[in-house]
Amino acid sequence: MVFGYMRCYVLLAVAASAPGGQPAGYQPDQLVTYVWFGQGLLSVVMLWGWAELADRIRTGDVAADLLRPVAPVTAYLAADLGRAGHGMLTRFLPPVLIGALCFPMRLPTRWPTVPLFLVSVLLAVIVSFGCRYLVNATAYWLQDARGPIMLWVLGAGVLGGLYFPLRLLPEWLAVALWVGTPLPSILQTPLDVAAERDGPAMQAALIGLQAGWAVALLALAALVQKRAERKLVVQGG
């Protein structure tokens, strides 16, 4: 909440002195949407660290997961989607309400934005899950995944669009990030969709890119898991 107020004031101050009052093409009320929807989505897409799998690998509890009839990637994804769904109901609305009460916020003006936003959030959760799974899976090789998890928290925050809208970067860099890394698909894309930063065609294209990353990351996670199982030596008793 505190962070929401700070980011909102800072971005509004930038908008107030930017030529044309539209930094990176955002109107001030779109920036408010950007900040507060971002605060709400933060815990839904779980941009912060998730170390459950890494801990289970370190302690050897992961052996129990391998005995279950469901593949670990599927089982953890199902749990994560459930958590995100619950988060959407309990964690998403309060910051959005506060933002709307304290600042002039832009709510979607075109009806397709709402279903597009929900699809985008779902894909964002899957992309985020894929990344977190891979980061945690480094523990199969490193034993202790604290370093990679920290790197993820930091990278996901900055390159996912939490600290500033990625559109403020030079255009070539923003495009490279979007196409070359999954990170903007985790937060920036759903936020741009909600703020209606672009027209419907561009909204759909961004969501398509998200879907591509979601499929690629899940496939990669399954592959890494299979490799790790062949290599795994469970520690401890």
Binding site: M6, A145, R146, G147
Partner: protein, 266 residues
């Protein structure tokens, strides 16, 4: 002497455990610098969109960010580990700390040696030096002294906030993210010119909590700029006093908290 030897043994054991997972440790070392790098980067990116934010130019804003980065990194390095207290209280590990014949706070700090945060301190001070050189400062003896004292005062102030927010765990076992709203939130708030913020929010954080006096006011005094919000020029030199006051409050809260501690029994 015996006590010192005991602390040294604790530190050495921790140092060995930290470097035993070598790859992970190296990544952590670099990531820690990354946190400050990205804070500075954020300021640079925001200034791409405009040449002034709330009346401040990039070099001026960077001076504020520099003082805070240096001070915060120093505080996080020396005392930041105290935020693990909530884990120890919940797991009951704190009992083991309290039965040893050593003071509780230094032991807690040594339970996880912050070698990985060292590079970050170096980077924080580098930012400050670069920011000072980017501005044309009219040097007087008082300003030279202020430049030396400001990051240290900021470090003391931030350390106090670390201790106070960690102490919440004594009363409220699951204090979770509330503490980091004050530590990291305080740092982020103080990293920007406070003219950016709306009046109610600003009054609460800048003047009731005192965050204006650790970065913004000293930077104004160094630059010789009058405060757009009307505080006199000496306010910039008040940062050691504000830091001292915060430290006194933190010490009191810590003591009361430790007395108040009842083991969770688990």
């Amino acid at each position: 002497m015996g006590e010192l030897r005991a602390y040294a043994a604790l530190a050495a054991a921790q140092a060995r455990s930290v470097v035993s997972y070598r790859t992970s440790f190296l990544i952590e070392l670099l990531t820690n610098v990354g946190a400050t790098v990205f804070d500075v980067l954020t300021v640079l990116v925001l200034f791409r969109a405009t040449d002034r934010i709330a009346g401040f130019t990039l070099p001026e804003a960077l001076l504020i960010t520099g003082i805070i980065s240096a001070g915060f990194a120093l505080a996080d390095f020396t005392i930041g580990n105290v935020d693990r207290l909530k884990t120890y209280v919940r797991a009951g590990t704190l009992d083991a700390v309290l039965v040893r014949p050593l003071a509780a706070l230094p032991q807690l700090l040594l339970m996880d040696l912050p070698i990985r945060k060292l590079l970050r301190v170096v980077f924080g001070f580098t930012v400050l030096v670069v920011a000072v050189r980017m501005n044309e400062i009219d040097w007087t003896p008082a300003r030279v002294a202020l430049l030396l004292v400001a990051p240290l005062s900021c470090a003391v102030f931030m350390s106090a906030i670390f201790v106070i927010s960690a102490s919440l765990a004594f009363w409220w076992v699951d204090s979770g993210e509330l503490g980091s709203a004050f530590t990291y939130g305080g740092r982020d708030f103080a990293s920007y010119p406070i003219t950016v913020y709306g009046p109610v929010f600003r009054t609460l954080f800048a003047y009731v909590l005192g965050l204006a006096f650790i970065g913004y006011q000293p930077a104004l005094a160094l630059l010789g700029r009058p405060d757009p919000l009307g505080l006199p020029a000496w306010a910039g030199f008040a940062s050691p006093l504000v830091a001292l006051a915060a430290a006194v409050v933190a010490a009191a809260v810590w003591r009361v908290g430790l007395r108040h501690y009842r083991s969770t029994g688990s």
